[in-house]
Symmetry: C2
Subunit: 209 residues, 2 copies
Amino acid sequence: MTKGSRTRRQIVDRALTLASHVGLEHVTLGTLAGELELSKSGLFAHFKSKEALQLAVLTEAIERFVAAVVRPALAEPRGEPRFVALFDRYLGWIGRGGAPSPAAGRCIFMALSQEYDDRPGEIRDTLVRSQEDWRSAVARAARIAVEEKHFRADLDVDQVAFEVVGIAMTYQQASKLLAHPDAERRARSAFEALLARCRRPRRRGPRRA
Amino acid sequence: MTKGSRTRRQIVDRALTLASHVGLEHVTLGTLAGELELSKSGLFAHFKSKEALQLAVLTEAIERFVAAVVRPALAEPRGEPRFVALFDRYLGWIGRGGAPSPAAGRCIFMALSQEYDDRPGEIRDTLVRSQEDWRSAVARAARIAVEEKHFRADLDVDQVAFEVVGIAMTYQQASKLLAHPDAERRARSAFEALLARCRRPRRRGPRRA
């Protein structure tokens, strides 16, 4: 790693932490320069604009999400174990606010969904792609669980992904904004109920394929 | 209504529309003065600070939510009909972005949950109270449905409220940010599954109360 790329990395890192606290919108070259004790022109050498910086932050957040949630879950056995691992790691990500240290802010993707849902541009496009990718990853894990015969054959896997995201969102509001001590238990209970609907029915005898 | 209170109302109205597009954080006396063709000092006569204005906007949004969602649902018969009406009107509110005209932005409460979840102060306190009130209203409607024997006696009504909020949140992301045409159908399908879990089981003969 060259000195330049180390500095760039340090900038993105700090910007990501800042974004998870005050919102990406407020991450400007000025604020960051102050935080990092760099000159604005020093920052400008790495990022030509506020938008370029914000896009780098979002891209970094996506990479971290994939590294912390998606990739480790893919190492789990195909079927329900992998599907459950995705959810577990998703809750963990939200609990940590998508940051390395515990309780360090909020999930940047959920915050951005609010900040950017009606602002066209490259940031919004990247955000949309990341959220579509995530819903697809959950749906795909559910689809594999159907193939493994853990889940019912007629399962609507996109519906499952839609609901998994909802559980995570209400969990985030309950645990962060409302500071409900039972938020995680409720999230797991909602997920258990969803799992029960996904699984093949057992008691009513053999089903058609 | 005096001229002063008419003007005040007009200011809050415009600020609320603005907040649902750019976020409450960006509703400043300066921006608003420009929008309303008022002087900043004219605005200042009505609101002594940006915070006072933002608090008035949030309070107005809460009143509109109660008028559009909670109060009409309370006119429905006790039990499942009232519970369903709350959900229906909640979806309608999100679909309209909490604004009078269709597709006019996003739900101000969800946006604020992101903007203010770690910023202490009166706005955050008011927001927390409004979200607690809403979850309580949903739980209370479910509790009444238990009393009316529409829902099962052992139902965890706070869990139901937790899940209803989640369905609405994923619906908002799917319909606004991701522009999924099937978002409303998916929200209704998730709600139907939740309803099925709430209802008293029918096929297994009489239950103990």
